[in-house]
């Protein structure tokens, strides 16, 4: 079945929040103080108005009223500016955290095991890096400060109520059991649904991306209806879950409304009794009712944002889930002695119980040109990946100069050995960006590299030369040219050993011969391991390794293998005969 990337557990989420909070404590404190200040200033206004009402009921001068109004205007202006400032700081803070979350995620993803990333698919990753980060944004930037503000407001208001008249304030308690019951009903029901919804949207994004990516195939094979039906199914599923969440949320809000209004009635009744007993004055009762009304806003804000925070939490679990898989940092102290490659008893399986390589032994000396041939599915590409240290063998070893390839730190590993695969991809960006993936290089170096692979004329014909945008949404690049770009990258990378995994297989043969001619110059002085099914490549090799069923069955030069009359000789005969 379809696999997805893991979700982070609660401890990982807590640890992340804690580390972020500690690392950003000053800006966080600054932002929170601004919010707190804005809230406090905001509380002065109603006080002034209460004062105004009191002043009017006890009788006062118009002058006094004018002064109060003017003070209020001043307070209001300060409040507005503080609030804007607080929001702005929150945005700055939130954007920074988001950028960190995004970048941290991508940094991690590119180091994850290939199989993990590829079987999860673009959509899962993409939704984690984009829409989940957006959800986290709302949780971080808005929910946290809003909840704190609301809590502060609620606490201060409650204190004010108790100070004004503890007896009348008792009426407020009617709300407590309702609030508790509603929250207890809502929370456990909605949380798993939020996670489900995010996963469902990720599924929508996955199929959207595949559809957008495969436009030509969809048109050619008349798959439009199928893709749209799939999209409809996915969207319906996500909308269904959202709709269910909406129902829970609506009922929850409805219950809260009752919890807000009920205390007002209770306060009035209690107040009425207290007034007849002489325990409270009209002004006090009025103030408490107004306070009770003032509580509604922050309380519902707090609960709404708590909800938002739950969505953020679900998103965070997805984002951090990627970072659960720890990449191997490599051993900085490892220094290969020489460039000889040795494979000893290497086995490898992509999934348990399905071994694709069964005990490979192979020695490759510096400057050698080795060609690996064999039927498809024989494990040639897998061996190539082991040689290049993309995967580590399950047992046995693959060493360069006596050092385990996968123990070399990534940057160092690629100075030693590079793998060019049959996969073709042009990264969305400029041609320059595509070429300089291994390292930064000057224009001169880039043009040299393009000339080496016969692609300079093509590059010159592009509208903006090296700065032309290619890849998805940019200038279309013919398949043959994609290979040439890949090879030019190789020239830039300049390693001592190359593994070419059918790097030219998807081209028609004459083009690949062209390419190989120009490559000869690039390959000179390097150790080359070429994986091929075309025997034309094999003839000139120093040695040929024939693989079948996960084993090397023959190893030797063309002449030796022809003389041995084994598999290789059979292959050659079948082609020329």
């Amino acid at each position: 079945m379809k696999t997805t990337l893991p979700l982070a557990g609660k401890p990982a989420v807590r640890a992340w929040i804690w580390s972020v909070a500690v690392a950003n404590r000053w800006s966080f404190l600054g932002m929170m103080s601004l919010f707190a200040a804005a809230t406090l200033v905001g509380l002065i206004g109603p006080q002034l108005l209460g004062h105004l009402v009191d002043a009017v009921s006890t009788g006062t001068t118009t002058w006094h009223i004018d002064v109060i109004a003017l003070i209020f205007i001043g307070v209001l202006a300060v409040h507005a500016v503080l609030r804007r400032q607080a929001r702005f700081r929150a945005a700055v803070f939130g954007e920074r955290l988001l950028a960190e979350a995004r970048e941290g995620m991508v940094e991690h993803v590119v180091q994850l095991p290939l199989a993990t990333v590829e079987s999860a698919g673009t959509g899962d990753l993409l939704s984690r890096a984009t829409s989940d980060v957006d959800k986290l944004d709302e949780g971080l930037r808005q929910a946290a400060p809003e909840i704190v503000i609301a809590a502060v407001t609620v606490a201060l208001t409650a204190v004010a109520m108790v100070i004004t008249s503890p007896i009348v304030a008792l009426g407020m308690l009617v709300a407590v059991p309702l609030l508790v019951a509603a929250t207890r009903w809502y929370r456990p029901r909605v949380l798993p649904k939020y996670e489900e919804a995010l996963a469902d949207w990720a599924e929508v994004h996955s199929s959207t991306h595949e559809t957008a990516d495969g436009g030509r195939t969809i048109e050619a094979l008349r798959l439009r209806r199928r893709r749209l039906a799939l999209n409809d199914r996915n969207v319906d599923k996500a909308v269904g879950v959202e709709w269910y969440c909406s129902r829970l949320w609506a009922w929850f809000l409805g219950a809260l409304d009752v919890a807000y209004i009920l205390p007002i009635a209770a306060i009035l009744v209690v107040g009425g009794v207290a007034y007849t007993q002489g325990l409270a004055g009209i002004g006090e009762i009025t103030a408490i009712v107004l306070y009770a009304r003032a509580l509604v806003e922050p309380l519902s804000e707090a609960l709404t944002w708590m909800d938002e925070l739950q969505v953020g939490n679900a998103a965070l679990r997805r984002i951090l889930g990627v970072q659960q898989i720890k990449p191997d940092p490599g051993d900085e102290s490892a220094v290969p002695d020489g460039t000889a490659i040795a494979v000893r008893g290497a086995t490898f399986a992509y999934s348990p119980g399905r071994e694709v390589l069964h005990g490979i032994d192979l020695d490759i000396v510096e400057g050698e040109r080795l060609v690996i041939v064999g039927p498809s599915g024989a494990g040639k590409s897998t061996l190539g990946r082991l040689l290049a240290g993309v995967n580590a063998p399950d047992s046995g070893s693959v060493t360069i100069g006596g050092v385990e390839v996968t123990s070399l730190p990534l940057a160092k590993r690629r100075q030693e050995i590079v793998l060019v695969t049959q996969e073709q991809h042009v990264f969305s960006g400029t041609l320059r960006e595509n070429l300089t993936l291994p390292r930064d290089a000057s224009d001169e170096e880039l043009w040299d590299a393009l000339r080496t692979v016969d692609a300079a004329d093509w590059a010159k014909s592009l509208p903006a030369g090296l700065d032309t945008v290619v890849g998805s949404g940019g200038e279309a690049v013919a398949p043959a040219m994609v290979q040439q770009i890949a090879l030019a990258r190789l020239v830039i990378a300049d390693p001592h050993t190359l593994v070419l995994d059918e790097a030219t297989s998807l081209l028609d043969s004459s083009a690949s011969r062209n390419l190989e001619r120009s490559l000869t110059a690039v390959l000179a002085g390097r150790t080359v391991i070429a994986i091929a099914h075309r025997l034309t490549t094999a003839r000139d090799a120093d040695r040929i390794a024939v693989m079948e069923g996960g084993r090397i069955v023959e190893l030797g030069s063309h002449d030796e293998l022809m003389a041995a009359k084994g598999s290789y000789a059979g292959l050659v005969a079948s082609l020329s005969g």
Partner: protein
């Protein structure tokens, strides 16, 4: 929108009821009146609660449906553009429109209900004040709309910055979309660091653009407090003076306070609506950019039908003829341009049994001529679903002809195995055979195969060529390949 109004009415009546409870119940120590008014308040609470439920549901329905509708419209159109799509727009952009932009538009739809409620709140408050104290009513009627208009100057610059932010978000999305497709390449070449650094640059641009937009957007929250506050002060100041004159009672003043505090709602919702409106406009523009894309070629107004059965093709550009019902092999370089001509992916003079393709309906051309090449995409899903095209050629037959039976046998779940996106969990040779099996399963009248066996070994290729020739006997088939194994089974061979 009706619910928005329903929701506002009890909220608007609440301060009036409270004022009455104090004036008629508590102050004259009238327990009966107090209980009556308190009961009324509880009743208002019940009305409020049920209208909240309905309003929330209506708002959510609006945003969910709006969002889903837009996502579907974009997908409908994107698939109509078809082959021309990848070169016209980044795949990441389409995903972004279907995710974040969808929310932006949904958000606006959601806020509309409450905006209506805000307007109703304003009307109720204005009527209440107008009927009791006309001067205060006038202040509200004039003041609130003016306060809301105070937001207008922010709109232009805000939109510009939101657009800039959205642009950067699109760039970051596209980069992230490259990860899965490009990871093997990054791994092989050691490009992880450069890629991560570049993503970080883009991500930082997103951050800066976001902060830039927030510079203005944050003023909305300040204004949200300031403008209605000013109206409140004005009302209370006037009210206090009137109460001092004895024109109104203290209870009425308290009621005014309740009513005017409640004027915050329309302005508050208005600022929120401004925020959403702004984002929705930016999002809608991105969506329209996709909806404006057109397919590369259109059908003529009065299309001619293609000949029945497996017809032949004649390509004027090369002068080659591909006879009906025969297997023709072309040994040429630059085969992709050639194949595109035969399948009418480009406008070229090609005739199908005497009918020029450009005079035929493009849908019929696609139905009957299939051009399959190695850049075709294998979608994620079970093998049976994705390879079987549901035509006369059985899945098993297609897999056999493409010599892919052993691939299927090697999978845990056989034809029910879930294939990852683009068939990435398969090896290059296995993937190519799956693509071929799918093309054969389509059972096209004319099948054009572009280098169908370039990634398989000679033994496999030999089996494929023979079986394809057998399966396609009597149907027009064109194969671009340099391999001698294909020429061996061909009815006709061209070496241009």
């Amino acid at each position: 929108m009706v619910f928005g109004a329903l929701w506002m009415v009890p909220l608007a009546l609440l301060p009036l009821a409270i004022g009455a409870a104090i004036d008629q119940g508590i102050a004259p120590r009238d327990t009966g009146a107090l209980l009556m008014w308190s009961g009324l308040i509880v009743a208002l609470g019940a009305v409020l609660s049920s209208s909240t439920v309905m309003l929330t549901r209506a708002g959510d329905r609006a945003w969910l449906h709006g969002a889903a509708l837009m996502q579907r419209a974009v997908m409908q159109h994107a698939t109509r553009v078809g082959a021309a799509l990848p070169s016209k727009i980044k795949a990441g952009e389409i995903v972004a429109v279907g995710s974040s932009d969808m929310y932006s538009i949904g958000g606006l739809l959601e806020v509309i209900g409450r905006l209506t409620g805000g307007v109703v709140a304003f009307i109720v408050a204005a009527i209440a004040l107008l009927s009791s104290t006309p001067i205060l009513g006038l202040v509200v009627v004039v003041g609130v709309p003016l306060a809301t208009l105070g937001l207008v100057p922010l709109l232009g610059p805000l939109r510009k910055r939101t657009e800039a932010h959205r642009e950067e978000v699109g760039a970051a999305t596209s980069m992230a979309a490259d990860i899965v497709s490009g990871l093997r390449i990054l791994r092989g070449i050691g490009g992880e660091k450069q890629f991560t650094d570049r993503f970080a640059e883009t991500s930082q641009r997103v951050r800066k653009a976001g902060v830039n937009a927030a510079r203005i957007d944050s003023w909305l929250s300040g204004i949200e407090v300031l403008l209605p506050g000013l109206v409140t002060i004005l009302v209370m100041w006037l009210g206090a003076r009137l109460a001092l004159d004895g024109t109104i009672s203290v209870g009425e003043l308290v009621a005014f306070y309740g009513v005017s505090a409640f004027l915050v709602i329309p302005v508050g919702v208005a600022t929120e609506a401004v925020h959403h409106f702004n984002e929705a406009i930016v999002a809608a523009r991105r969506a329209c950019a996709i909806l404006r894309l057109t397919p590369a070629l259109d059908s003529p107004e009065h299309p001619k039908p293609l000949p029945p059965g497996s017809f032949g093709l004649h390509d004027e550009t090369s002068g080659l003829t591909f006879p009906a019902g025969k297997l023709t092999v072309v040994r040429t370089t630059g085969s992709d341009a050639f194949a595109d001509r035969l399948g009418r992916y480009v406008d070229a003079p090609v005739a199908a049994g005497g009918v020029p393709l450009r005079e035929a309906d493009i849908d019929e051309v696609r139905d009957r001529i299939l051009v399959a090449h190695n850049q075709d995409v294998l979608f994620s899903g079970t093998l049976a679903d994705e390879v079987d095209m549901g035509k006369a050629v059985e899945l098993d037959t297609a897999l056999w002809a493409a010599d892919a039976t052993d691939v299927v046998d090697g999978l845990d779940h056989g034809t029910q195995e879930y294939l990852a996106e683009r068939g990435r969990t398969l090896s290059g040779g296995q993937r190519q055979r799956m693509l071929l099996a799918r093309a054969l399963s389509f059972d096209a009248d004319v099948l054009v195969l572009d280098e169908p066996t370039s990634a398989v070994d000679a033994h496999t290729e030999a089996r494929i060529t023979q079986r394809v020739a057998e399966l396609r006997r009597g149907r027009t088939t064109v194969v671009f390949s340099q391999s001698p194994l294909w020429t061996r089974v061909a009815d006709e061979v061209y070496t241009p």
